[in-house]
């Protein structure tokens, strides 16, 4: 979704905005203001802060905060500022807190003095004040107070205001960082918050969980279904944390039931094309609880937050069946409408998904057409994706993609040209049907005056030819002609190498020797790379010659093949006007001549190389010479020089990012971050093995199992609670699957029996009211939607209120 500021700026008349910007840009006013704040002396500022007048104090605090943001020293005011922490004025309080958060670490002793006052605020009537106090207390990085903070968190978890409970949740990781020894208490608080009925409290709790103890999956079991139900209504950040947790949880707790069958399925999955693997997919069973998660994610695909969409895609990608992945594809595409920065990241993720499910992206192919306004980091990825989906497109789209690539390969941007040509190569490689057309495209580029383009095209052509050498003999002849015009050293070297590779094909009709003859004449003007290849070519030609001579010791001149003009003439389709075919062949019709010339040429080239300035070249020449000099080693030379080369395969650049989790930073950084990703990266766990997963009954709500309580040190209070729970609710929910428990999550915080009873009534109420809409997502607005429920609802609210009030009393009594 576009950001509001962008849309607003489109709607406003641009003129007004620039006018205002221009006015403010008048640096005069700003420097004046800066001076003004500087002009206030420390003494004056202190006087303001020490004043009895709220207005003055506020004024002073604002000044201090400004100095803070400008990185001016404001520690001298510490005591004057902190003194105001007791002010009843909430505005002053907030600013003091901000100051404290930034500077307490530098003055721990003075900061400690304020703790008492802050602690008092923890019991303030106004929930906002309570929350703020909790936040500041946990945020002050003074390790001594960790126990107090952990106590305050515990109390905050039971606060009647969800706002305070959320602050408590957010304080948990801070307290943990302050003193890791508080972990047991914190985990206890956390498990209370997991059961909270307020969506945003749960979201914050999950965030805290992921930070302090992401490995404690045992805490999640009993809240699993509740969390999933609340997922839709959490705020975006809570959703992100929950999705992350659930992806890991599912891997650890739901074995891939169909692992044997999945193999068949995965053939159709990765090997694409083959849609016949349908049965394999059907057999793939999803655990009902896992399916619950996948279904609950679906509405999130329409989130305005791109991170959420990618998180759901990740969830589907690693947990779901291919059908689920396909659902996520459209929403991923919708991220291409977002601002460029988000688009950039989204494209990496799209490319990663695209490698597994290319066929689903075909219908969105036009989204990846490059726009001239795209910066390099965007078009690079778009080109890659176009090449990935190319083989899956219909002929029309194929045409569109190829002409797109051709268009950009003729552009002026060197990088873009190079990437386009490479993309053409990948297209040709992945789809043999199109390779002729791709090759023609590339061949046109060789004669381009742009050496860069020519070189890049040749490299790609070479790869293509190697993949299917027999059908490309004529292409090689045509390439050889380009030696006239090609100036780029790399391009020349590529061509020469190719000619050498093909020297043995087609026996005596080959052009290799002729090419060598011409190249030898200009040897001294060639670049180093080309020289190396010329020597290699000479060696190959000579090796072929030797082999031939051995095979047919008495070649009768009478049986020499007729002139080659015929065979070369029929590739006229490739040649351009002005170039005449047949020229190469003509000279070699006389085998006798042939036989004499090749050793001569070989010796000549060796001679040239021998006096070259390059050590490397001289060494190689010497090597080839001694290899080929002795007839006994001819076979060895043949093996070395004429061995069939492996077919090169250029993978998509994203191919090897594949190992990294979707949506992670490591996926994007890839190579620079090292093999194990950047610091803090953890790959998703493998699916748990069948039989090792935790019992699924653990996920039954309200049924806190003995096994669970036994394993972890759960405080007595909680155990009592669970006993209450079982007593009060066990009958109500017995053996039922989650579907029938449409009530909000069980509040597992410490409550009196009365509370439990009251809640039971309320829940029964609610069950009756909402049964029909069971499977719909539970918007909180559901209530508002049906007016008939209104009376019910208000009574419910009242109940809730009294509920909370009771609870509060409880606390006070404690």
């Amino acid at each position: 979704m576009e950001s509001l500021s962008k849309i607003s700026s489109l709607l406003e008349t641009a003129r007004d905005l620039t006018l205002e910007a221009a006015q403010s840009a008048g640096s005069a006013s700003r420097s004046f203001r800066r001076d003004a704040s500087k002009n206030i002396s420390v003494a004056q500022l202190k006087r303001l802060l020490d004043s009895r007048n709220d207005r003055d104090i506020l004024e002073g605090l604002r000044k201090v905060i400004s100095m803070m943001y400008r990185s001016q020293p404001c520690l001298p005011f510490f005591s004057s500022v902190v003194k105001n922490v007791a002010s009843p004025n909430i505005e002053i309080k907030k600013l003091v807190y901000i100051y404290l958060l930034h500077h307490a670490e530098a003055e721990p002793d003075l900061a400690l003095l304020s703790i008492n006052t802050i602690q008092k605020s923890l019991t303030d009537q106004n929930p906002q004040v309570r929350a703020m106090a909790l936040k500041v207390m946990s945020g002050i990085r003074v390790p001594v107070i960790s126990q107090i903070v952990s106590l305050a968190i515990k109390r905050g978890c039971a606060d009647m205001s969800p706002y305070v409970r959320k602050a408590a949740a957010l304080a948990i990781p801070k307290c943990y960082r302050l003193d890791p020894k508080t972990l047991p208490q914190l985990i206890e608080s956390l498990s209370v918050l997991f059961g909270d009925r307020q969506y945003y409290v749960v979201g914050a709790a999950v965030t805290a969980f992921m930070e302090i103890c992401p490995e404690r999956m045992d805490l999640v079991h009993s809240h699993y279904r509740g969390l999933i139900r609340k997922l839709v209504d959490m705020d975006e950040w809570g959703q992100l944390a929950t999705l992350k947790l659930m992806t890991v949880y599912a891997r650890k707790c739901f074995p891939r039931r169909t692992s044997r069958i999945r193999k068949e399925g995965s053939i159709g999955f990765y090997g694409d094309e083959d849609e016949g693997a349908e049965e394999g997919r059907e057999v793939q069973l999803l655990d009902p609880d896992l399916e619950l998660l996948l279904k609950a994610c679906k509405p999130l695909l329409q989130s305005r937050n791109s991170a959420v969409i990618v998180a759901v895609a990740r969830c589907y990608y690693y947990l779901g069946t291919p059908e689920y992945i396909d659902i996520a594809v459209g929403p991923l595409i919708s991220l291409l409408r977002t601002p460029q920065d988000i688009q950039h990241i989204a494209l990496y993720n799209i490319a990663a998904v695209c490698l597994t499910r290319p066929e689903t992206f075909v219908k969105y192919a036009t989204h990846f057409l490059i726009r001239i306004t795209d910066p390099p980091y965007i078009w690079r990825l778009k080109l890659e994706i176009l090449a990935i989906i190319f083989p899956y497109c219909g002929p029309h789209m194929n045409g569109v993609i190829l002409s797109e690539l051709e268009h950009f390969s003729r552009g002026s941007d060197k990088d873009l040209v190079r990437e386009s040509v490479r993309a053409i190569g990948r297209c040709a490689q992945s789809d043999p049907r199109a390779s002729t057309r791709c090759l023609r495209l590339l061949l046109n580029q060789i004669s381009s005056s742009d050496g860069n383009l020519a070189a890049e095209s040749l490299t790609v052509i070479r790869h293509l030819i190697q993949q299917n050498p027999l059908s490309h003999t004529k292409t090689v002849v045509r390439l050889a002609k380009n030696l006239d015009t090609a100036t780029n050293p790399q391009a020349r070297a590529s061509i020469i190498w190719l000619v050498g590779e093909f020297a043995g094909i087609d026996g005596e009709n080959n052009v290799a020797a002729d090419v060598l003859r011409i190249l030898a004449k200009g040897f001294s003007d060639e670049s180093g790379a080309a020289k190396l290849q010329i020597v290699l070519l000479a060696a190959k030609v000579y090796a072929h010659y030797l082999n031939q001579a051995q095979a047919v010791p008495s070649v009768s001149e009478a049986t020499a093949p007729p002139p080659l003009a015929v065979s070369l003439g029929d590739h006229g389709g490739f040649s351009e006007p002005g170039l005449r075919d047949g020229q190469f062949g003509q000279k070699w019709e006389e085998s006798a001549l042939h036989r004499e010339t090749i050793p001569l040429l070989w010796n000549y080239v060796l001679l040239l190389a021998r006096y070259d300035t390059s050590y490397d070249l001289r060494d190689r020449a010497r090597l080839y010479k001694s290899l080929l000099a002795n007839p006994k080693s001819t076979q060895l030379a043949t093996l070395i020089l004429l061995a069939p080369k492996p077919v090169p395969h250029t993978p998509s650049p994203s191919e090897w990012r594949k190992g990294f989790t979707l949506g992670s930073t490591s996926l994007i950084v890839a190579e620079d971050g090292g093999l194990s990703g950047i610091s803090g990266y953890e790959p998703l766990p493998d699916w748990v093995r069948e039989g090792e997963e935790p019992d699924r009954s653990l996920r039954n709500e309200h049924a806190v199992r003995a096994e669970y309580t036994g394993k972890k040190e759960v405080p007595a209070g909680d155990r009592l609670d669970s006993a209450v729970r079982e007593g009060g609710k066990g009958a109500h929910e017995q053996g039922s699957s989650w579907n029938s428990t449409n009530d909000p999550a069980p509040a597992s915080k410490s409550k009196s029996l009365d509370d439990w009873l009251a809640e039971g009534v309320e829940e029964a109420d609610r069950d009756g009211g909402n049964d029909e809409e069971e499977d719909e997502e539970e918007d909180e607005e559901d209530d508002e939607e049906d007016d008939d429920d209104e009376s019910d609802e208000t009574s419910e609210e009242e109940l809730e209120e009294s509920d909370d009030a009771d609870e509060h009393d409880n606390l006070v009594r404690q």
Partner: protein, 550 residues
């Protein structure tokens, strides 16, 4: 675990704000030069492996302000970027657009509170502008300008005295039941404005055939309604109601929208809005519905199905040496007779906002206004200068070394571009860097000449029918140098041109707002018989969005 470590804001040169959230991230003074060292255009994601610790640097730029956020551990990159965008939105909401350095500097206390609330020690906590209004103190003039600012504690005291509905709202002060809506909203004049903004993304092949044509639409809403309104916005498309689901593709929604309602009845958006301005939904529309992208490969896209207010055509390699290119801009005839997607009478109370509330908007909705037509032609790097820059209308700007020509075409009366049938044209010729060098004729020895020079001249059919070698060679040479020049100039030709414009009162997709109804039964706190003023505005923009290739 995802954590935001710090937020730095810079104006052109200086850091104007440094807010540290957790641990000790690299300081602004270290990061800024590293950011600038990256060659432009700078991506918003830069990995700096050589810093200690290795850091990922996220950045966004908003109206000359640069927002940087360093992260040293594994995170979800989109989380950070989304957060930065929210920061910009929230700051703009509180300080007023556009966001300027001076505004931030004079409101450091508000900014400090906002940043502290939005992200708590690295965990993003509260990014809803409405919820932030409840907890952030806005002093003095800003507060007055923004109107209603709820006082702390006020909600507590009012809960007992106010109506049933108010009681519902204030049960849990200060955070309301709906995180995105503030409690106790009161407005003296109730207003509802819908803005539909669509931006075009069209690519035209050299033949003029559209390769792809899409619009990205956004629905922005300004809701200033007291209490707790429950709204229903109904959209329709030219292709009919049944088809709306397929017409509006891949929608995304603000969390306030009831997704189930949309799923059941596409086109109806039911929601309780936040107070103030927000983006309700985003969607996209394919303007070539039965074409390429859909897999119906046989039917080539019908060019006439795509109607744009302007059309662009680029021709290159003109003139004797192929050094000229020409860009032509047409006004599409059909544009003037466009069916306009609004009718105050039909909409029922949804009056056009034009004229009454914002006269500056100008024009009537029945006559869409075409404005700000700018054609941009990217110029390849090899070009030294453009000679003979001529336009039939408007002004074209190019100074040697620029990478593009910008051609502003005036629009007379907002609707008509030019009187001539041919539209407006821009023509010029390129001057390359190496134009003066006399090219020598390539290598003295040529592979082509094997036949002529080599020792093995043999009569064959090819040679005998050809003209004598020497003559052929001369002509060949001549032709070649010509070709070479054209070929050289061809590399200096632009490969495309794009046009930017804005059309008010018209949407390329034809989507329109059928109605915007306040569901009185579900709403609370809105006085009896209060009829909010409603307005709708349509805008189509193309920011270089129509691209013609050649």
């Amino acid at each position: 675990m995802s954590a935001i470590e710090a937020l730095y804001i810079f104006d052109q040169h200086n850091p104007i704000l440094q807010h540290t959230y957790r641990s000790r991230p690299l300081s602004a003074s270290i990061l800024h030069p590293l950011y600038l060292a990256h060659p432009a255009p700078r991506p918003s994601f830069i990995y700096l492996p050589n810093t200690q610790p290795p850091t990922t640097l996220y950045s966004i730029v908003n109206s000359q302000l640069l927002f940087l956020s360093p992260v040293s551990t594994e995170t979800e990159p989109l989380l950070i970027l989304e957060f930065l965008h929210r920061v910009v939105d929230v700051l703009e909401d509180f300080l007023g657009p556009p966001l300027l350095a001076s505004k931030i500097e004079s409101n450091y206390d508000v900014v400090a509170q906002l940043l502290g609330e939005m992200c708590d020690a690295g965990a993003v906590s509260n990014t809803e502008p409405n919820a932030l209004r409840d907890v952030v103190e806005v002093p003095g003039w800003v507060g007055r300008i923004l109107g209603t600012v709820s006082l702390p504690g006020a909600s507590l005291s009012s809960s007992t005295s106010s109506s049933l509905s108010m009681q519902h709202l204030s049960l849990q002060p200060p955070v309301t039941q709906l995180p995105w809506r503030r409690a106790n909203v009161r407005h003296t004049s109730n207003e509802l404005y819908v803005d539909l903004v669509e931006s075009l993304a069209v690519t035209l092949a050299p033949s003029g055939r559209p390769l792809s044509a899409r619009v990205n639409g956004t629905i922005a809403l300004t809701a200033k309604i007291s209490g707790f309104p429950d709204l229903l916005l109904t959209l329709s498309t030219p292709s009919g109601k049944s088809n709306i689901e397929h017409a509006l593709e891949l929608p995304v929604f603000h969390p306030c929208v009831r997704l189930a309602r949309w799923r059941e009845r596409p086109g109806e958006i039911s929601f309780v809005p936040p107070d103030g301005r927000f983006v309700l939904a985003g969607y996209e529309v394919d303007l070539l519905p039965f074409s390429i992208g859909k897999g119906l490969t046989s039917s080539a896209p019908n060019a006439s199905s795509l109607q744009l207010p302007v059309n662009l055509e680029v021709r290159k390699s003109l003139g004797p040496s192929g050094a000229d290119f020409e860009v032509r801009l047409f006004l599409t005839n059909s544009f003037t007779g466009w069916s306009i997607p609004t009718g105050p009478s039909r909409v029922g109370g949804l009056g056009s906002r034009l004229g009454t509330s914002s006269p500056a908007f100008g024009g009537s909705s029945n006559a869409p206004i075409l404005e700000e037509v700018v054609v941009t032609v990217p110029i390849p790097e090899g070009v030294k200068n453009l000679a003979d820059l001529r336009t039939s209308r408007g002004e074209a700007q190019y100074s040697p070394g620029d990478r593009f020509v910008e051609w502003r075409v005036p629009t007379t009366g907002g609707t008509l571009l030019t009187t001539g049938q041919g539209g407006a044209t821009l023509r010029c010729s390129v001057v390359g860097i190496s134009d003066n060098d006399d090219e020598d004729d390539g290598p003295a020895f040529s592979f082509d000449d094997i036949g002529a020079r080599g020792e093995y001249v043999v009569e064959d059919a090819y040679q005998s029918t050809a003209i004598p070698p020497s003559q052929e060679k001369n002509e060949h040479q001549q032709r070649r140098s010509d070709l070479k020049r054209v070929a050289l100039n061809a590399t200096l030709m632009p490969s495309s041109a794009n046009v930017s414009f804005a059309v008010k009162g018209w949407l390329a997709s034809g989507v329109k707002v059928d109605s915007l109804i306040i569901n009185a039964r579900a709403s609370r706190g809105l006085g009896e018989g209060v009829k909010p003023y409603k307005g709708v505005k349509y805008l189509t923009v193309s920011k270089g969005g129509v691209e013609a290739r050649c």
